[in-house]
């Protein structure tokens, strides 16, 4: 029996190695040519708690998590108790025979017999791989790549454990669907959202990153730190988030394209700095990896509730752009784009992601780095008008940018209102001109704005709009509804600010019911669309329990 779309759920305590099994399986499945969507759900603790690693795998392209479970890999009994009901008819539970759950719908693994305790994860991985019909060589290679080849004893033990797992599995009479073979689709990468943001930033020429650790943003900085010496950048853990953003502004002022990854609470501390970037016209890219608030909230879960906060963060008025990647690929490309817009318009630019996307590994076709155009830093070395004036009034609002110390010209940037030379002013006519100059830059940002992505029928009965990481669930829900012969369109906003009504109003007008789907309680994108266009969406599908939106969730909610 074959099944093209399987959902695996690994459950256990933190520290039990479910990440190891999950990562190995993911890598192996991607190498075998499958499409994957990983959803990680964990507690805010280091050991213990109940964590899950969901791995949806398919021979076709999949882009969203799924709720029902085909294979439950239980690393403890609690997992069986908590998730048993999610397992579908014909699904399977993989558990230590020691739990004594019986063999109905369960493959009981004699871990103790099969291996030393420390190789139990490898055994589990082996058993699952065999169940899924993966090639043992590929499986062995994946383990080798993960653990390195230096320790030959370890390599050998891993190989043996895997062997035992495959042999044992081969002897079991289990009725579990195999994945259909897929054609070789060429090299693909396994990458999660945060990794893609880090890689996107590196490709854009990031030279400075300051951060204060905060889940789920930290791994962006860690990924950059790992490459700092190779790629020639400085990654500095600041004393607090206020320092982080101010350091990034200082570095950027001095010529280093800068990024600041954080999450809601840390970002809150940066809002004064955001305003400073706006006033001094210093480019800076800020990643806000969302998690459920208010305050500390649920630090390891997901939510999309900081759109309005980020859009209005910082006192006073100045332009900005906010990107909202929905896929790992978009994390990469929109991070590049964020640097481009920040540098071109000398403004703070934001990337809104969230815990789900941050931790969600996917198969990605390698980015074509060879054909990338380098991003223009916007820094001049030879100003056309002298004396050099950092804030010269221009039609575009963009003033010539020099960096200090690189020429004989002096660069003066001021957080107070300033005349063209950057010094202090109390002249209220200048004030007015400067406000207008700064706000004119929004036109440039609008010109760069990425269109919402539409897919579906020309005049659908129902249009589902969404932003950020919920897009996968929306696309799949749409596909399912179409299977039920419903006429559905989807509109994804990879950029939520500025909104350019011309890019999307026609879709609203040509659709029946317009439903906005987002991971918050206020319906923030919907409110924003109404503010900008007057259009009130007909319905909201919202989620704010800390879990990502799934296709099933959308269909359930729409059913109401």
């Amino acid at each position: 029996m074959e099944k093209s779309d399987l959902n695996l759920l690994i459950g256990g305590e933190a520290g039990q190695g479910l990440l190891t099994i999950g990562d190995l399986l993911t890598k192996c499945l991607v190498r075998a040519g499958y499409s994957v969507v990983v959803t990680q759900s964990y507690h805010s603790r280091i050991r213990g708690g109940h964590n899950t690693f969901a791995l949806r795998v398919s021979s076709k392209q999949v882009v969203a998590p799924r709720e029902s479970v085909d294979l439950l890999i239980a690393l403890n009994e609690e997992t069986v108790n908590l998730h048993r009901t999610e397992v579908v008819e014909g699904g399977l539970i993989l558990a230590d025979e020691a739990y004594g759950i019986g063999s109905g719908g369960c493959l009981q693994v004699p871990y103790q017999e099969l291996s030393e305790e420390r190789f139990a994860n490898i055994v589990a991985f082996g058993v699952v791989s065999h169940l899924l019909g993966l090639d043992q060589k590929l499986v062995a290679k994946t383990v080798e790549d993960a653990f390195g080849k230096k320790d030959s004893q370890l390599v050998e033990k891993n190989r043996l454990a895997l062997n035992d797992a495959f042999n044992w599995s081969g002897q079991q009479a289990v009725d579990f669907p195999k994945l259909p073979r897929v054609a070789d689709s060429g090299q693909r990468l396994v990458m999660n959202g945060n990794e893609a943001i880090a890689m996107g930033a590196l490709s854009a020429g990031v030279k400075f990153c300051a951060f204060y650790p905060m889940t789920p943003a930290t791994s962006i900085a860690l990924n950059l730190a790992a490459q700092a010496s190779r790629m020639g950048l400085v990654v500095e853990q600041a004393e607090d988030e206020i320092a982080a953003i101010n350091m990034a502004i200082g570095a950027s002022f001095a010529g280093a394209p800068s990024i600041v990854p954080t999450s809601g609470g840390g970002f809150a501390l940066m809002t004064e700095g955001v305003s400073l970037a706006g006033m001094t016209e210093t480019p800076v890219v800020i990643v806000v990896a969302q998690r459920p608030g208010p305050a500390t909230g649920l630090p390891t879960r997901t939510e999309q509730a900081d759109l309005e906060f980020v859009l209005h963060a910082g006192h006073g008025e100045f332009p900005r752009a906010i990107f909202s990647p929905g896929t790992v690929e978009e994390c990469f490309w929109l991070t590049r784009k964020a640097f481009e817009v920040a540098l071109k318009t000398q403004s703070p630019v934001f990337i809104l992601t969230d815990q789900f996307l941050a931790d969600s590994s996917r198969a990605v076709i390698p980015f074509d780095l060879k054909n990338l155009k380098p991003i223009d830093s916007g820094i001049e070395t030879d100003p056309s008008n002298l004396p050099y004036r950092r804030y010269a009034i221009t039609e575009s609002g963009i003033s010539p940018r020099l960096v200090p110390g690189m020429t004989e010209h002096l660069v003066v940037a001021g957080s107070d209102e300033h005349p063209v030379d950057g010094h202090l002013t109390e002249d209220l006519n200048i004030r007015k001109q400067m406000v207008e100059k700064r706000l004119r830059k929004e036109q440039g940002i609008i010109r760069e704005a990425i269109s919402p992505v539409y897919s579906g029928d020309d005049r659908p009965d129902i249009l589902m709009i969404t932003w950020g990481s919920s897009v996968g669930a929306v696309l799949e829900a749409a596909a399912q509804l179409r299977n039920q012969s419903r006429s559905v369109g989807t509109l994804h906003f990879p950029q939520v600010w500025p909104l350019v009504p011309d890019q999307f109003m026609a879709y609203f007008q040509n659709s029946g019911e317009v439903v906005c789907i987002e991971g918050n309680a206020f319906g923030q994108l919907a409110r924003l669309i109404r503010r900008e266009t007057g259009f009130a969406v007909h319905r909201n599908v919202l989620r704010y329990d800390g879990l990502p939106i799934t296709p099933e969730y959308i269909i359930r909610e729409l059913g109401n």
């Binding site: 990468l189 400075f208 607090d240 200082g250 390698p366 003066v412």
Partner: protein
């Protein structure tokens, strides 16, 4: 050689008689003595009366937020270690709002000169207590007098083994000029706390008050003796020691970052071939 004229003369927004004027003068003279051209310098300041100083000389300037001069300076220095970076701001800015950055900058020992105009009061916001205001000092915000013990920046810096800790007085311009020159020459984080009369809001710690108490450390004083420095650091009241209270050589932050050994970040090209290799690890 650079002349003091290159640093220009500007109209200020300070009160006549303010100690800031002489500090500005000493800064300029210190720069000339250090043979630095305006474009080689980056002044970073926060917000306050003192923080306006960089607007009154020719240099590159980043005048940022209240309390946040140090992180901006740190970022700029890391981006371009060739810049001579000088932080200049008030006591409120640096020890109040910016207290956490003060601790971090000492720990990093990043090569910056930090000149604090210490008038023991918040000048620009009209006379509230600052962290260095003495106990019992009455203001409209502290009508019963300040109840906290004043912050002793020198004692904290010495306790943390900051690599250059000095005190100057705006009323002793030559001495201050020399301190500034030495601080700039010092490799690592150099603090100069400069006593500065505020004629508008501090009627206690006046020019005369400081003048009477300030004395310069003797030639015999050994600034590398930490214990002696710690004792000197707490001397305050009837007599106030000026000079380099503590000095130590230790590696700067920049020197410890491998990536900066090949020069500043500004000049660095993005190597997409290298990135391709990095990306391969994800496959």
């Amino acid at each position: 050689m650079v002349s003091i004229e290159e640093y220009g003369q500007f109209e200020t927004a300070w009160c006549p008689g303010c100690g800031n004027f002489s500090i500005l003068e000493s800064v300029k003279r210190g720069l000339v003595a250090s043979r630095l051209e305006p474009h080689q310098l980056l002044f970073v300041s926060g917000i306050g009366q003192a923080a306006k100083t960089p607007h009154y000389l020719n240099a590159n300037v980043f005048n940022g937020l209240h309390g946040r001069a140090l992180p901006v300076a740190t970022g700029a220095k890391l981006a371009n270690p060739n810049l001579k970076v000088i932080v200049e701001s008030g006591d409120g800015c640096n020890y109040g709002e910016g207290g956490n950055h003060f601790l971090a900058a000492i720990r990093r020992n990043i090569d910056l000169t930090m000149i604090v105009h210490d008038n023991q009061v918040y000048g620009l916001t009209k006379g509230q207590a600052s962290p260095t205001t003495q106990e019992g000092f009455v203001t409209k915000a502290q009508p019963e007098g300040v109840a906290s013990t004043p912050f002793n920046p020198i004692a904290v810096a010495v306790a943390m083994q900051a690599s250059f800790v000095a005190r100057g007085f705006s009323g002793m311009g030559d001495h201050l000029t020399t301190l500034i020159e030495k601080a700039i020459a010092h490799e690592g984080f150099a603090l100069i706390d400069v006593l500065q009369p505020c004629v508008s809001f501090n009627k206690v710690n006046t020019f005369a008050w400081y003048k009477k108490r300030c004395y310069t450390l003797s030639e015999e004083y050994d600034p590398t003796d930490w214990q002696a420095a710690m004792a000197k650091a707490t001397e305050w009241g009837d007599s106030i020691p000026l000079g380099i209270l503590y000095r130590q050589q230790r590696p700067t932050f920049e020197a410890r970052l491998a990536v900066l050994q090949q020069g500043g970040l500004v000049d660095r090209e993005t190597d997409l071939r290298e990135l391709e290799k990095i990306m391969d690890k994800f496959s």
